[in-house]
C-alpha cells in the first residue's frame, strides 16, 4: 500500500477522530484525550509504514555518494525520536499539561543532541585537521 492512495483514509480517520473527540469533550474530557491519542497513534503508524521506502532510498543515495552509513543512521534515529516525542508532547498539550510537555520537549532535545554529538565531534576533528 503506497502513501498516496493511503492519504484519503488518513484524512478520513483524522476528521472522524476529531469529531468524536469534540463530541466526548463536553461529557467526559478524559475520553476525548484517549480518542485523540488513539487516532494520533494510528495516523503515525500509517505514516511510518509510508516512510519506509523513503528511508531505504535515502540510505541508497548516501551509499551511492560514498557517505558513511552512520550519518544516515544518526539522521533517521533523530527523526524517530522526534516522532515519538512529538506525539507524547502534543497529547500533554491537548490535556492542558504544558509544563510536562515542555519538559518532554527538553528531554527529546537532549537525546537528539546526545545522538548527534559524535557527528559534531567528527566535524570538529576535520576542521582541526584542516587548520593544522
Amino acid at each position: 500500500m503506497t502513501m498516496d492512495t493511503n492519504i484519503f483514509s488518513i484524512v478520513g480517520i483524522a476528521i472522524i477522530t476529531t469529531a468524536l473527540a469534540v463530541l466526548l469533550r463536553q461529557f467526559r474530557p478524559e475520553y476525548a484525550l484517549f480518542v485523540s491519542l488513539a487516532g494520533g497513534i494510528f495516523i503515525l503508524l500509517l505514516a511510518c509504514t509510508g516512510i519506509l521506502p523513503v528511508v531505504e532510498q535515502v540510505y541508497g543515495m548516501l551509499e551511492a555518494s560514498s557517505v558513511p552509513g552512520e550519518y544516515g543512521s544518526v539522521l533517521f534515529r533523530a527523526l524517530g525520536i522526534c516522532f515519538v516525542t512529538q506525539i507524547a508532547c502534543d497529547t500533554c498539550k491537548d490535556a492542558g499539561e504544558s509544563a510536562i510537555a515542555s519538559k518532554l520537549e527538553l528531554a527529546g532535545k537532549v537525546v537528539v543532541l546526545a545522538i548527534s554529538l559524535p557527528l559534531f565531534q567528527q566535524v570538529l576533528s576535520i576542521v582541526y585537521s584542516l587548520m593544522v
Binding site: 480517520i13 472522524i16 477522530t17 468524536l20 463530541l23 466526548l24 461529557f27 467526559r28 478524559e30 475520553y31 476525548a32 484517549f34 480518542v35 491519542l37 488513539a38 487516532g39 497513534i41 494510528f42 503515525l44 503508524l45 511510518c48 509504514t49 516512510i51 519506509l52 528511508v55 543512521s73 533517521f76 534515529r77 527523526l79 524517530g80 525520536i81 516522532f83 515519538v84 506525539i87
Partner: protein
C-alpha cells in the same frame, strides 16, 4: 491496528458518560466515580498495546535500538 479501536474508545466514553449521569441522579456518587475509573483503566489497557505497537514500528523503521 484497526480503526475500530477509535470507535470502541468513543463508545466506552459515551457509555461511561451515560452511566455516570444515571448513577449521579440515583444518588450514588461513589459508584459513579468507580465506573469512571474502571472505564479509564479499560481504555488505557486497550491503548497501551497500541502504544507498544507504535514504539516497535518506530524502532524498526528508524533503526532505534
Amino acid at each position: 491496528m484497526e480503526v475500530d479501536l477509535i470507535f470502541r474508545i468513543a463508545a466506552i466514553g459515551i457509555i461511561v458518560a451515560v452511566l455516570h449521569q444515571v448513577l449521579v441522579r440515583a444518588g450514588r456518587e461513589d459508584q459513579a466515580m468507580m465506573t469512571t475509573l474502571a472505564g479509564v483503566i479499560v481504555v488505557l489497557m486497550m491503548l497501551i498495546t497500541e502504544i507498544n505497537n507504535l514504539f516497535e514500528t518506530v524502532k524498526n523503521v528508524f533503526g532505534l535500538y
